[in-house]
């Protein structure tokens, strides 16, 4: 029998490909981005990353002992992700956006939709749906983050990881995260939880694609 992670990869492959093959993403990975658009992307990313841990915490608070492994995984994961929104803040500062401007920025509708869905899914759909959010966002970071960071570095003539530290570091950091995520997902057995994870991964790929499309 196929593991759940393998089923998730298959079930969401077209959604992942939908992100990867979107003309804006293709262009960004191939050629980087003009400075203004990169700033706009980081501003949205800041608000996605800011909500990463609160969503995980909301989910963890609702996960009972039937999924204790997932809850404990979330504790560890939140600890590791703690403060990562500050990396985005630093990157924004490196490309000329002051922290006050970042905090004053009103997220785009697609960002609100992404964050809103993730809170709603953790609260109303199934708390394990948070694993779908983690999967989609870590796939984006670990598979596409590296090439995208390289393209941005080249197009904006950035020095080292300055201005791309969040993207570049997550490309390698999330390698371990992906393996851990696979293990915890494969331990989940309940059908409703698994369905919620697949739905959440698909919605996260969808909204993240729209965020990049709109900037």
């Amino acid at each position: 029998m196929l593991s759940f992670f393998a089923e998730l990869v298959s079930a969401t492959d077209e959604d992942r490909r939908g992100f990867e093959t979107h003309p804006v993403v293709i262009d960004a990975v191939a050629n980087g981005m003009p400075l203004e658009r990169y700033r706009a992307l980081l501003l949205e990313l800041y608000h996605v990353v800011w909500h990463f841990n609160p969503v995980s915490a909301a989910a963890a608070s609702r996960i009972g002992d039937e999924h204790i492994a997932v809850r404990h995984f979330l504790y560890e994961h939140m600890h590791e992700e703690s403060g990562h929104e500050l990396w985005v803040l630093n990157d924004l500062e490196a490309v000329g956006v002051a922290p006050e401007a970042v905090r004053a920025h009103v997220p785009a509708l697609h960002t609100l939709a992404l964050n809103g869905y993730n809170y709603w899914a953790a609260d109303r759909r199934h708390p394990c749906s948070v694993l779908g959010m983690l999967y989609a966002l870590e796939v984006i970071a670990s598979v596409y983050g590296g090439p995208f960071a390289a393209a941005i570095r080249e197009s904006l003539l950035l020095d080292g990881d300055r201005g791309v530290s969040f993207l570049a570091s997550h490309a390698s950091l999330d390698t371990r995260h992906m393996a851990e995520l696979r293990q915890v997902m494969n331990a989940v057995r309940a059908e409703d939880a698994l369905a919620a994870v697949v739905e959440s991964a698909r919605v996260n790929f969808h909204h993240f694609t729209r965020i990049i499309e709109a900037i």
């Binding site: 992942r16 003309p23 990975v29 050629n31």
Partner: protein, 320 residues
């Protein structure tokens, strides 16, 4: 999901495919398949699923299709092979199940081609552009392989510390011999259509733009002798059989090797994926040019390595 076979030509052509386009010529009972996995033409899971469904439909309608012809709808690209981003994801997740599953799906496609003659189907493939790794593997089991002269092909996997695991060894050895398989797979270099023809991996090379005429010639040549040709081709494959178990065992080895790829290897794979994205975005240079660059870098690295080793051994001699 339960497979419900399509009935007749209308059923065969009536499925809502996204990555393949089908045409039917009733006079020759010829099914023409054009692949169009846009914007990056590769064997994605969806593309393989659709191809397999179409092949299963042919199997479920014995005697309906006499000629199967495949080509690419994407200009200058036949197929870039595996879905590199998916590989990176699965390797990073350490997911050997999915790597094996991906490999098995590829093997099932080439296995159908290998046994197409048993179903009364003669297969022809036209390659008009670049075909890499799994793209080339998918071409080899066809009965007739036609390349336009501009097309280039090769197995670049060794450049990022992997090997082609979905039939390259078996089919290349059978068609071109052990030495050619060794040379092509272990070098990772790209070959022109004429070089592949010289090595007997390609049956016919025609000028650019002459591929369609070549298909027509092949099909009309085979059609009057269809039954005899297929019987001969079945006998040919009995004489030099390829075993499904062997293909799957190689997939297992491939999946295990893929899990051992380092971050550097994955970065090379990502570099190739980025080059594919550049080409898909309209740039003149793409994966083939990037591979040539990687070949050069590898060659320089080797030379530098040899030079360094020589220096080290000279140094040791001096010291001793």
């Amino acid at each position: 999901m339960i497979f419900k076979p399509a009935i007749g030509v209308a059923g065969l052509l009536g499925r809502p495919y996204k990555t393949i386009r089908l045409e039917w010529s009733s006079d020759l009972r010829l099914l023409r398949v054009r692949t169009c996995v846009r914007p990056i033409q590769c064997y994605s899971l969806a593309a393989m699923g659709e191809l397999q469904q179409m092949l299963d439909d042919i199997s479920a309608n014995p005697g309906l299709v006499r000629h199967f012809v495949m080509s690419s709808d994407v200009p200058n690209v036949f197929n870039f092979g595996g879905d590199l981003a998916l590989f990176v994801l699965l390797v990073r997740a350490g997911d050997i199940d999915s790597l094996r599953l991906y490999g098995k799906r590829c093997v099932d496609l080439v296995w159908w081609m290998e046994h197409a003659a048993n179903l009364g189907v003669h297969t022809t493939v036209l390659v008009q552009g670049d075909t890499l790794g799994g793209g080339l593997e998918s071409v080899l089991p066809f009965h007739k392989v036609i390349f336009e002269r501009r097309a280039q092909a090769g197995f670049p996997e060794v450049l990022f510390n992997l090997f082609p695991g979905m039939g390259a060894w078996d089919f290349t050895i059978r068609k071109a011999g052990f030495a050619v398989a060794n040379e092509m797979i272990l070098s990772g270099r790209l070959y022109s259509a004429d070089e592949l023809h010289y090595r007997r991996l390609v049956d016919v090379v025609v000028g650019d733009g002459q591929g369609e005429v070549a298909i027509d010639t092949v099909v009309r040549d085979v059609d009057p002798r269809h039954r005899g040709t297929l019987a001969a081709l079945r006998a040919q494959r009995m004489a030099a059989p390829i075993r499904y178990e062997s293909l799957l065992a190689i997939v297992d080895l491939w999946a295990e090797s893929a899990l051992g790829l380092t971050d550097r290897d994955l970065r090379l794979m990502e570099r190739l994926a980025r080059a594919q994205a550049r080409k898909a975005g309209g740039a003149a240079d793409g994966a083939v040019e990037e591979l040539k660059l990687m070949e050069l870098e590898a060659a320089w690295g080797d030379r530098r390595g040899r030079f360094d080793r020589r220096n080290v051994s000279n140094d040791r001699r001096v010291r001793s």
